[in-house]
């Protein structure tokens, strides 16, 4: 509607609604803001109550979550030369909490595990999921809808129900606490989603191109690679980002099936919070570092979100 056509009453109403939306958004983001805010607080302000809103931000908490340190006994001060020879982040930690950085902490390793497992499972999911989606979209077979429904139901199972036999199976195959074990599990967890969403994308590609290519003597596989894949890139990318987010966030399986070698960040951080106990700054920093990739991807994905969260049921 043209703005000029609005009456004064409508214009006031409009302003009120916009104001309301802004207020709601601000209130809504407070918990997130609070974590980011806490992660940048200097050590001595973190436990202050009522909480201080304004302060000089520091990255000391981030350095603490990435490193292992030993506290210096109270009153002990390092010599000036020693402080001067420290790396910048060592000096920062020393000045903030009077601790000495000993080595790299556990987080980098867990973060790397998360990245390896998530990328591994996403790549496999996309490869076999796109193949299956193409097969379901173009193939003619009896009971196709039943198979598709079967694939969907595997995703609806509560993970806690499947987790007992999966645990037993992994134990007897020695897959517990291995990267490949979690990659397989996350692939199985995501592939049903990928097939449904990708099938939707492939259904939208006109079949005529493929028929023309087949007439021209392409094999079916060549058609798939050279005609279908290039047209499905957006769909593939969106599906991949969704699979990435789902696997990145997964907790129940990772918690039960990884202890150390292949432990991911969501499995590690809650346990670590218990250990950190006193160090809420480091906990907040770890939380933010972990949430960041998913937040960035959500922003990239925003146009496809509805389609993804409904398994392709709603195509906007």
């Amino acid at each position: 509607m043209d703005k000029k056509l609005l009456s004064a009453k409508q214009r006031v109403l409009r302003a009120v609604v916009i104001f309301l939306i802004c207020v709601v958004t601000v209130i809504y983001l407070i918990p997130l803001f609070f974590v980011i805010h806490t992660s940048f607080k200097p050590w001595d302000l973190i436990k202050e109550y009522p909480p201080k809103i304004l302060f000089r931000p520091t990255v000391a908490s981030y350095i603490r979550i990435f490193t292992a340190r030993t506290p210096l006994p109270p009153g002990v001060e390092l010599s000036e030369e020693k402080v001067a020879s420290m790396k910048w982040y060592e000096r920062l930690v020393y000045k903030d909490t009077n601790e000495e950085v000993v080595r790299k902490g556990d987080l980098p390793r867990r973060y790397l595990n998360s990245i390896i497992i998530v990328i591994g499972s996403t790549v496999i999911t996309i490869v076999i999921g796109t193949l299956a989606a193409y097969g379901f979209s173009r193939g003619k077979m009896r009971g196709k809808d039943d198979w598709l429904f079967f694939i969907l139901t595997t995703r609806m199972l509560p993970p806690v129900v499947v987790v007992i036999p999966v645990f037993l199976m992994f134990r007897s195959l020695s897959l517990t606490d291995t990267h490949i074990g979690l990659i397989l599990l996350y692939t199985a967890f995501n592939v049903s989603f990928a097939v449904w969403v990708m099938k939707g994308f492939i259904d939208e590609i006109p079949i005529e191109y493929e028929e023309a290519a087949l007439v021209d003597g392409y094999t079916r596989f060549q058609v798939f690679m050279k005609v279908v894949i290039p047209q499905a890139t957006t769909g593939i990318a969106a599906t991949a980002v969704f699979c990435f987010i789902f696997a990145w966030n997964e907790y129940a399986f990772a918690f039960l099936l990884s202890r150390k070698t292949a432990q991911t960040v969501p499995a590690w951080l809650p346990y670590q919070m218990g250990v950190l106990g006193y160090d809420w700054g480091a906990a907040a920093a770890g939380t933010f570092v972990f949430l960041l990739p998913a937040m960035v991807f959500t922003i990239i994905l925003r146009k496809h979100l509805v389609r993804g969260i409904t398994f392709g049921a709603i195509r906007k």
Binding site: I21, L131, G135, F167, A188, I314
Partner: protein, 306 residues
């Protein structure tokens, strides 16, 4: 959909390629997915169905006839007659009702507000959607920090004293409910927005000409048109809330003070006290309940679509 393909004049589709029929090739395309799902989803399900009829503990050595030993439906009878289990069912039901009601009302309300077209609407929608794609367990940790009775900002902002939201069994269910509503309201909001956007404009224009009231337009046009999509959101949310596990793990952990939710209990039974087969029976009962709820709701969904 399948019929369209059949009717296509694609004679080429039926051709043979290097001895492999096209139809066979399509099946080969589907095969890896099916094999994976059967190995990692179907096979475990059958296994746990078997275990639920036995007496088995994963902590002890496998001896056929003793561990697992066949006990027929004993585990199911034990689960359903145990008053402690009923407490878990009731708490979980309370949790589902509170979170889903909160999310549906707030999510739909926000979507109604966001129907207004203004500058920055896209940005605000994106910002509001952020919580939804975060890891539930990490969202739990975030709220744990936020609730902290000594220095967290939750009590401070609401002007409450040092109320303990995490350790106190009278309150911690609500602390999880609030975090769940925070996290999943955007889900309902997004679906509602999609539904509201799909209502044909001419319906409103026609009502405008008839000088219909706002209330009339809302109850006679908007609600009936978006009800299928609201049903869809409801189904998704009920299933997810029913099996909630990671969010409470982040906020309260699974200790003695944690609220008695089903999935958490299942975890404790199976992997802390190692009553594997009893846990499998609980798992199967949960599965049957999820399926029953879904089937009933899908029926309503189909009715709403008509």
């Amino acid at each position: 959909m399948g019929k369209n393909v059949d009717e296509n004049p694609g004679v080429a589709l039926e051709k043979h390629y290097r001895g492999v029929r096209d139809k066979t090739l399509m099946r080969v395309f589907i095969l890896p997915t099916l094999i994976l799902l059967i190995a990692i989803n179907v096979f475990p399900l059958i296994w746990s169905l078997f275990l639920s009829f036995t007496d088995y503990s994963a902590k002890m050595a496998n001896v056929w006839g003793k561990n697992p030993a066949w006990v027929s439906s004993q585990n199911f009878a034990d689960v359903l007659t145990n008053p402690e289990m009923w407490e878990k069912f009731i708490t979980t039901a309370k949790y589902v009702i509170m979170t889903v009601a909160g999310e549906m009302i707030l999510g739909f309300g926000l979507a109604l507000l966001l129907q207004l077209d203004f500058k920055g609407r896209g940005l605000i929608t994106t910002l509001l959607v952020l919580p939804m794609t975060m890891s539930p367990v990490i969202v739990g940790l975030m709220w744990k920090l936020f609730y902290d009775p000594n220095w967290g900002m939750f009590n401070f902002l609401l002007g409450l004293g040092r109320v303990d939201w995490i350790q106190d069994p009278a309150r911690n269910l609500y602390s999880i409910v609030i975090a769940d509503i925070w996290m999943w309201t955007p889900f309902v909001m997004l679906l509602s927005l999609a539904g509201l956007g799909a209502v044909p404009k001419y319906l409103y224009e026609a009502a405008e000409i008839d000088r219909a009231s706002w209330w009339f337009k809302f109850t006679r046009i908007t609600l009936p048109m978006v009800s299928p999509i609201l049903m869809l959101a409801l189904i998704f949310r009920i299933i997810e809330a029913f099996k909630i596990f990671d969010l409470p793990m982040g906020i309260t952990g699974r200790g003695a003070m944690a609220p008695p939710l089903l999935a958490m209990h299942l975890y404790n039974v199976s992997f802390v006290t190692w009553k594997t087969s009893y846990g499998s029976a609980i798992g199967y009962i949960m599965l049957i309940m999820v399926l029953a709820i879904t089937l009933v709701l899908v029926k309503y969904l189909n009715r709403a679509k008509q």
